[in-house]
């Protein structure tokens, strides 16, 4: 059911990224998502970065508005929804861009995590200091401002018991052949409407991302012909990933 929460803090993480804290913690499995509703403006899926926060990158009208909320403002939350990660042992958490935020609760719930993080520049490597206290952190930035100069995929493979990947789809598709499918999980993203398995809009090769995912084992992702290639837009018309 939908509930309305009060914003208690809007924390600037980087030039484009804000973490929005609200007044109540939500019990969810890492990887599950919430539909965040701004009354009269819209509703979009986010994975919690804290039990009481989502991290948002400004990328369009809705995320601009969400990034601009102030303490005292109200936001609606529907969820938690979808399938999260199974418990992971010694996982390497591989994140790209704002996808890094979605790995934070998984990192805290995992035993002995390590991190492989990528972004355009140092600013995009969210929670860098915090993650360094949890385990080894490997970083790639496209401008070389932090860590390896280049793409996160160039840091793979790394040694770990399991792998969780969350980032832009083309980055994830590049990771797919480099990781052991039976121990790897991907966070798949599609345009969502109902978010509860009814409308089919978030299909990825027939899997409804909202209820079959958004976390999928790599063995499933390997069967998704559309992954990394095409997705349905708001109208259902195909567009390139």
């Amino acid at each position: 059911m939908r509930s309305v929460f009060k914003v208690v803090e809007n924390r600037l993480e980087s030039e484009w990224t804000h973490t929005i804290f609200f007044d109540e913690e939500i019990e969810s499995r890492p990887g599950q998502f919430m539909m965040v509703w701004l009354p009269r403006l819209g509703e979009k899926p986010f994975t919690l970065s804290y039990p009481n926060a989502v991290t948002v990158k400004k990328a369009g009208a809705f995320t601009e508005k969400l990034a601009a909320v102030k303490p005292g403002d109200e936001i609606g939350l529907r969820g938690p929804l979808g399938q999260g990660y199974p418990p992971l042992k010694k996982p390497a958490l591989i994140g790209g861009g704002v996808g890094i935020a979605e790995l934070r609760l998984l990192a805290l719930a995992s035993e002995a995590p390590s991190f492989v993080l990528g972004g355009r520049t140092a600013d995009e490597i969210l929670f860098y200091e915090e993650f360094r206290e949890l385990g080894p952190v490997h970083v790639a930035t496209e401008d070389g401002a932090l860590g390896h100069k280049g793409l996160v995929t160039e840091l793979l493979p790394v040694e770990a018991d399991s792998y969780a990947v969350c980032g832009p789809e083309r980055m994830m598709a590049a990771c797919l052949p480099k990781l052991p499918a039976e121990r790897t999980y991907f966070a798949v993203e599609r345009y969502m409407k109902c978010a509860v398995g009814l409308c089919g809009q978030c299909t990825c090769s027939g899997w409804r991302v909202c209820t079959d995912g958004p976390i999928f084992p790599a063995t499933t992702v390997a069967q998704m012909d559309d992954f990394g290639k095409r997705r349905r837009s708001k109208s259902g018309k195909w567009e390139k990933v």
Binding site: V4, M192, G197, G200
Partner: protein, 311 residues
């Protein structure tokens, strides 16, 4: 009259639920007990539908949706349906348009893909500035008949006229049957209804109002099924709140020969949804106890044993 294709088992999804052929194929692979699948309503031109939120589920057993018929163009639908085929299940293509000419144009393109054509006369949702199909066509017997007549001209497949429960549906059905419909769809979502958030003091759905589905719809569409069967005795595809085998049996006894499942798939993974369809069908079969389903279609209309006479 053209008979409906044999849909075995006689369970399908409701239009606007699951929606796309690749999702149907995934359900088929997962062993869903659905003998047919209905596409999302195909419209004449690309349209995004309403902004989110498009769904709200107050706790009273009702789900409100205001998707408002998002669609890719009929040409893009042709490409999709050429690319993705079902193994065994039948395909029903749902069509809509703003007027009878548009309905006919979409039907012309879709006819070769469908084992049947379902004509959406009752969608109660709209984007801002539009009129709903329910208001502009589905509540009007003459305009509904005109749509069915033009669709009939474009296809040799069976035509299902899907009615709005928010209409004088027997009058609409009467004119649709005269215009060449082969079966009735009983029916679309109800309403539309409204949900208001008391904290933000805003209508929750971006489209303000939304069609009502789920358990709250069942007694209404069950009645529509019952009345339509009594009047026309034609094949009826029934929708509305079917979540258990008991719900399905009620609809069969009222007169349905095909049963559509929609809101019951809410929050279910493909495997869970497939299991639900198997549970429903196994329950129906057990209830039938070896009798053919046809023997029980409309059985609720028959007088009790002994003719019901007290004399």
């Amino acid at each position: 009259m053209i008979p409906l294709p044999e849909i075995e088992p006689p369970l399908i999804n409701a239009s606007g639920i699951l929606s796309y052929p690749e999702v149907f194929a995934a359900f088929e692979s997962a062993g869903a007990c659905l003998g047919g699948y209905v596409t999302k309503s195909v419209g004449p031109r690309e349209k995004p539908g309403n902004e989110n939120p498009v769904v709200v589920y107050p706790p009273e057993g009702a789900v409100l949706n205001s998707l408002a018929l998002p669609t890719q163009s009929a040409e893009d639908w042709e490409r999709d349906l050429e690319e993705i085929k079902l193994k065994n299940a039948k395909l029903i293509v749902s069509v809509y348009g703003g007027d009878s000419r548009e309905f006919a144009g979409v039907t012309r393109r879709m006819s070769r893909f469908g084992d049947a054509i379902e004509v959406n006369l009752g969608c109660p949702n709209k984007e801002p500035g539009e009129q709903t199909i329910m208001e502009s066509i589905g509540q009007n017997p003459a305009l509904s008949a005109e749509v069915i007549e033009r669709v009939r001209d474009e296809t040799d497949k069976p035509v299902i006229a899907k009615l709005s429960p928010n209409s004088d549906y027997l009058a609409v059905a009467d004119s649709c049957m005269s215009a060449g419909a082969d079966a009735l769809g009983c029916g679309n979502t109800l309403g539309p209804g409204l949900a208001v958030d008391i904290q933000s003091r805003a209508a929750i759905l971006a489209g303000t109002t939304g069609g009502i589905s789920g358990p709250a719809l069942k007694p209404i569409n069950l009645r529509m099924t019952y009345e339509a069967y009594a009047r026309f005795g034609c094949p009826i595809v029934a929708y509305g709140g079917i979540e258990t085998w008991e719900d399905a049996v009620e609809y069969i006894l009222a007169g349905a020969s095909v049963l559509g499942i929609g809101t019951a798939f809410m929050r279910k993974s493909t495997h869970e949804a497939a299991a639900l369809t198997r549970d429903i069908w196994e329950g129906v079969q057990e209830y039938l106890g070896g009798e053919p389903m046809s023997a029980l279609i409309g059985a609720a209309h028959r007088p009790a044993d002994g003719g019901g006479s007290d004399a």
